[in-house]
Point group: C2
Chain length 330, copies 2
């Protein structure tokens, strides 16, 4: 979309949203990802900032400095009611001892709903409040519409709160017609910084699907550090197009494997944890290919990670396409 189309899109939304929502409060859950943050920016642009309630749950499964950067971006856009819920301990306690991917996903999804409903109730909004969602086109496709099977459950599409609100006709999904690239352009147009809008997609269950097996705070901390180094390196290295590798890549992240492997430290045998790096070129939702790095870049990044994060002794690069592999590992 070009600038004129964007202005038109926002104008149309302003009219239709204002008509639908009126003076009622609107609640939006901010996940930390691009979609919900742009939705937040859009609501703040279109509606009265007094009626916009933004809730962000710090589950302890977020990327490094994610909470800080989302908070400051939304405050910059005039957010008045920004509710940061600190629920790290609650999520880690619920995940304790759970290592099966489906069990982990369900645990997070269920707790997400519990906390969301509890914290929403705590806000004391009138019953006729609207619920905004950052759903985009690709989410709907992956959740089964027009596709032969549900590949992954997006908990922001199916929760009881959402279902109840949907039945009541009070769910608004202003980005549902947009593709990711349009969402990004819209975000910039609305005044979000590129460090937010250009951010790679991040899954609903957060780092829990990237700490394979049982999730602990210690493992999340290790993964957060390693992931941040990976991303920092991608931002400072240039690709063939002259853009940064980060901008050339659709989605990049690190995965912590429940595997220890041998290494050498101070000339003695030592065990280190194993990290996998994943980087994906553009995807149409159903297929994706690994990014074609210069292998030297990968080796240097791996070396910086093992040099900086002492727990990690070995780094691999995921060279699998989708299909047969999914983008995320769990």
């Amino acid at each position: 979309m070009d600038k004129i189309q964007l202005e038109q899109y926002v104008d149309e939304l302003r009219q239709s949203l204002k008509t639908r929502v009126g003076e009622n409060p609107v609640l939006l859950l901010i996940s930390g990802g691009v979609d919900s943050t742009v939705t937040g920016a859009l609501l703040l642009k279109i509606l009265n900032s007094d009626q916009v309630h933004l809730m962000y749950m710090d589950t302890g499964l977020m990327r490094k400095d994610e909470t800080i950067s989302v908070k400051s971006a939304l405050e910059k856009l005039g957010a008045k009611h920004l509710h940061i819920v600190h629920c790290e301990d609650e999520f880690l306690a619920a995940l304790k001892g759970k290592s099966e991917p489906e069990v982990k996903r369900k645990t997070i999804g269920d707790l997400f709903i519990t906390v969301q409903e509890r914290e929403t109730a705590r806000l004391g909004l009138p019953e006729n409040y609207f619920l905004a969602q950052g759903t985009i086109r690709a989410d709907l496709v992956e959740s089964g519409e027009g596709s032969p099977s549900v590949i992954k459950s997006h908990h922001n599409v199916a929760s009881p709160l959402v279902e109840a609100k949907r039945k009541a006709g009070t769910v608004i999904e202003p980005l549902a017609r947009l593709y990711k690239d349009d969402v990004r352009t819209l975000g910039l147009f609305l005044g979000l910084d590129e460090s937010i809008t250009a951010r790679h997609p991040f899954p609903g269950p957060g780092l829990a699907v990237r700490v394979l097996g049982e999730v602990t705070k210690e493992k999340c901390d290790i993964l957060r550090e390693a992931d941040a180094i990976f991303i920092e390196e991608l931002k400072r290295r240039r690709g063939p197009s002259g853009r940064s590798l980060y901008d050339e890549i659709w989605q990049a992240f690190a995965v912590l494997l429940p595997v220890r492997s041998t290494g050498i430290k101070d000339n003695a045998r030592a065990y280190g944890q194993v990290l996998a790096l994943r980087a994906i070129t553009g995807t149409d939702g159903m297929t994706a290919a690994p990014y074609l790095f210069e292998t030297r870049d990968l080796l240097e990044i791996a070396s910086r990670i093992t040099g900086s994060v002492k727990e990690i002794g070995r780094v691999t690069y995921d060279i699998s396409g989708k299909p047969p592999a999914t983008i995320e590992w769990e």
Copy 2:
């Protein structure tokens, strides 16, 4: 070493070995690797083939078609006493339920010695037989001589049988002064095929250190297939020097991780096993670097593996140097 040096080396050995060994029998354990096979070829060249006893243990932890190719190579060189010990079931039973790397290594080392002593006794050799070993220069360095710490135990250096024989002065190690490259040149000079002499190094405990965690026949079979495809692809692809990737690479192999990750099969969510590929450029024993593939080669190889070995859903490439990682994963 050039041809003249090789001839000289073999001539010197012929004189010294014949003087030392006389008419006594010589027993050599063939591991399937280059070193012991070249040692076998050397013994068959220098000594009377009637006094040379070659023992090969098929532990079930060998690479694909390894037993067949070693057997035919040694028979071609005139081996008369080639004892193939089929002990796959024995090794797999001993490894059952064991997932700690050190425990696995010790189990294999101990059983290796047990089977070796039992089968040696079965041969009924006179007590004054000599024991030949394929030890090369790098093995001694890695086992502690001149190095600050023992990185990895080589069971062919330290077994009681070897120790007893060493005390009795009846161990012969004709390659102990040679570096790997010289061993290869010597092998060719002795009439071994390049498919044997150019073979990448293979660890004593075999595939057991490449099936991470508990070892089962099923996992070994999966790894064997995937590894064979990897090697085949390296042999048919050319590197920058014009040689095959296999010849440009010092050591390449696949590792089966005790990790399942999500994938897509027939449009539905599926779990697949994760494979890591490792490829190392030349090593001085203490350091090694991953081979700098064209990433496209890696992607095509990964795709062929997941297309051919249905249990594998995801493939990664190990981008860690030594140090901090070792070449093998366990």
